[in-house]
Point group: C4
Chain length 315, copies 4
């Protein structure tokens, strides 16, 4: 029960970018920073929202700003509620009020929401006390949510891998190979790191021009320890879809090389993933990478200089 | 030490639905929304309960309602406790009470449980203070539970994959193939997505009529990036258990196609799974899917329109 | 670079139970409930402690009791501290004290630790206020720990799989096979469930009597959906290490069958594992399992009765 | 589309330690405790920081000390803020102040940040109340962070595997083999444990002296249950890169054996990983490990003594 033999040109045609992409696109599919250059339309706004993903994805500044804004808005709403309970609902037996009733109610709300409860202002009557009951429940729920989100944001496994700015086509074992380099910028170790390299280009088939995808086999597709750096190598041998291609032919077919790196963060024991891509214009021909290694110091410890990650020299 | 050769008709007979299902059932096994159509009996009520799963599975409205109800019930119980401590147990040195002793005790309980503690009402005597000690402990435990549950609900990895309403039998490489389409409705990316497709039908074997299961090999069972859409394809070649079947024969054998999709959510680095199923009645013959792709706009970005996901045209 | 050919009798000798187990043991290795019957000696007490595992492993009653005990002890210690600050350190401007100075200090400590702070008792002087500062910090840390632990306990993925009380040796495809059944007691679904079955027995080799391990190949070792039940089957064909064994010979060699089931909890998208074992005495020969399936009701929904999971009939 | 044949000496050359390590280093790559002996240079300080990893990686003493320090600093800053609001901003209607205005403000800040709020000191005026609003928000955020971090630290899956101090070259099945032993020090079980063993040495190639890496095939590379101990065995057969090597030749080539163990913690259902390494100097030739097993006691339970893990005897 084997799959039918297929026209090699159709192999790996459908890689989640859709089965037939006959219309031409001038844009790369994947940006160098790993974000996709695509658009999913036809979803109603609410369907496409995923608040959890959005709250995790925004910057810390935006997140903390949003938190503060929600805090202020909730306290303003409850302040208006306390005002609506009438003049005797909040009393200050021992201190002077600020003189601005809204502000008094707002500060009382803060002391309630945050469960401080000095008592210098306190509620009198059923209405105000019911509002306090509601606010305390809302406060508990919101604090629980904020706690969970802070933790989730903080703990989200985000690898910080630096890729060389260009991929190169360099001499390799008597032939040539497509290569790029990656290094771990974090002090945390990554282990069991695997790489997938996809090659995408437009091909003309009759009247249609369609984007096809090929998976490029690698010299090695897994390293046990990703401690210093890794040079990912696809040998351009006769069976490679890149065999015989030139800088010009790759540019003409809008070639793009899509990279997915997966591994396990050693500290967190969590999987991490990172993507990047190289277009035909980001290829350098006849270059090779310079060594990353520093001469060992007096202590004999092996070291690299990540600033040289993208540096090449003529091959 | 190989497994013995088996009668092909018995292959994959037991897929977790039980080894012998000789009795006839008119229902599908798996609903389109991924829930199972089965019943596990013989468990005592308590055994089958899994409070954590149930608290995670309910809607947000029900969950927040339950939280509020628990909050009210606990505070009512403690209010009764404070009342039982006698008239002097709670004092209001500076403010008037509401006049209703239960309400005073209830509001005091709220201020204690939520750790607000204005002090406008406070406990006097050993009994009331011991009750406060207990309530503060209960409060800490319940707030801890609520915080954990809110976070767990929020962070639960739930993919939102839309499947085409029908599967189709369409021309494919000179023959035909069974196909369906799926698209990611979330803005978050899924990577490394794998698909398993099971085919289930009733077969008559002597006097017994039993449900058998077959795993259908796919043209590709994994996509690296599930960015736009994926057309899952099972080629109906001579070795396929579907070879020679018609719409009528599939309906007669109560055929059902069970789908499991697994992948990794890129933002959360967490595995997600989603199921669906197609019955014989949900198959369309001699159709093909229309293209999902929009003409690229001025910016040249590739886009699809998910509303067309289920649209077909005559092949 | 292949591993050297090995004496079949040595195959899978070392499965984490240690390479040479020449001394005889009368006990089973693994209990029916999945706990191991082994002892790791030579560790200093502190080394072998893993507080997190122990706090997760204890019963809810024990855990909540421990929490309450820690709460009381901490508050007693701080109460003693406040007493040591002298008679004027805690004042009650508006209410009468309980008359027992330790109790007043204890209740004040509770109001501080739980961050209630009514203010009916409050600290005066530098010493008492410094102690409040310390207690508030301890309170925050302990509440954080308790919150985390409650959540971790609640969310710990624990599958509840019921195994048949006995394994059976039953007719299978013209020969015989070793079989046992398992069913999911939880309402949550398990998917992608895999089974490993190990066979362990004592063998005499020269003067030594040592426990050897064999992995038994299964008719199928994975089910996609573990919805109702799964009958795990090892066919006793000539290549099986069980071929030719009898109830007596298995008992004489202290045979034991170790089972590991692994799968993914559908709700939590988390891996779960469960173990069990069958000794030679827990084998039934010449029996077969009765059907678990209920006649479908008026709604035609497929159902099983888990109470029949261990029921057998003569083959 | 197969990878090109490679010079065996180049096999597995690049294992994440970088492709060309031509410069000599006197240090081992991996310490016995699993930390790496490498240096990643060229990163700006902020880039290489990963606060979450650092907060998880520090000792409990350092972490709690840091927490206390942050707590004190924040309260000091807010105390200064309250002082800046002027003499009437904090009032003590019922108690005497400490007489030191900074201390009064500091204790008030503690009561606010920790949400205690006795009310014996309370804020008056808009400025002080705004500062309270800010402090309550900062308090919520910091408590949320601390809660998350405490939980993350506590729950971080950390296996405690003890490795034998030396690896040995011992007789094995008529030849010899490289072996080391490992035992689980935790009471929690590990299941599905896999081992990877890498062999690294310097080789002279023309003028260059470069470090090459080889993966050593193991007699078994996975145990289902890691209950007592595991003796990891690499048979030194003719295809092994160790074949014909001596203690002297390994020392001369600065040989190092890198070990990665991966498994699943049974209680947490979480993956754990642990690394170690043996240098040529940490090899013992012509020894074998003594048995770890204790004579079974009256209860017949199998037991080991981990203190003997590194003990060897002449082979």
């Amino acid at each position: 029960m084997t799959a039918p033999t297929r026209d090699p040109a159709e192999q790996d045609r459908d890689l989640g970018f859709g089965s037939v992409v006959s219309r031409e696109s001038r844009q790369r599919l994947l940006n160098h920073d790993g974000s996709f250059n695509v658009r999913r339309g036809g979803l109603r706004l609410l369907e496409s929202l995923s608040p959890y993903h959005q709250l995790l994805g925004m910057s810390w500044g935006a997140f903390l700003g949003l938190l503060a804004a929600v805090y202020l808005v909730i306290n303003c709403l409850f302040a208006l509620g306390y005002l609506a309970c009438g003049p005797g609902a909040l009393v200050h037996p021992l201190t002077e009020a600020t003189g601005i009733r809204f502000l008094d109610a707002f500060f009382f709300s803060v002391q309630t929401f945050a469960t401080i409860g000095y008592g210098s202002i306190h509620p009198v009557g059923i209405a105000a006390n019911l509002l306090v009951t509601l606010e305390s429940l809302v406060g508990l729920v919101m604090i629980a949510l904020a706690t969970g989100l802070m933790f989730a944001r903080f703990s989200m496994p985000r690898a910080r891998i630096r890729f060389s700015r260009h991929a190169i086509v360099a001499p390799f074992q008597g032939g040539t190979a497509l290569m790029f380099r990656a290094a771990n910028e974090r002090r945390s170790e990554l282990v069991g790191v695997e790489c997938e390299l996809l090659y995408s280009r437009f091909e003309v088939k009759g009247a249609a021009r369609q984007r096809n995808f090929y998976r490029l086999p690698l010299e090695r597709d897994r390293v046990t320890f990703f401690t210093l750096s890794w040079t990912v190598v696809h040998p351009i041998i006769p069976t490679s879809p890149l065999y015989g291609e030139t800088a010009e032919s790759l540019a003409a077919s809008q070639a793009e090389f899509l990279v997915l790196l997966k591994g396990t963060d050693d500290t967190l024991s969590q999987g991490v993933m990172i993507r990047t891509s190289y277009t035909a214009e980001e290829l350098r021909w006849g270059k090779r990478f310079v060594s990353l290694f520093n001469p060992p110091g007096a202590d004999g410890i092996l070291g690299i200089d990540i600033r040289r990650l993208s540096d090449t020299e003529p091959a």
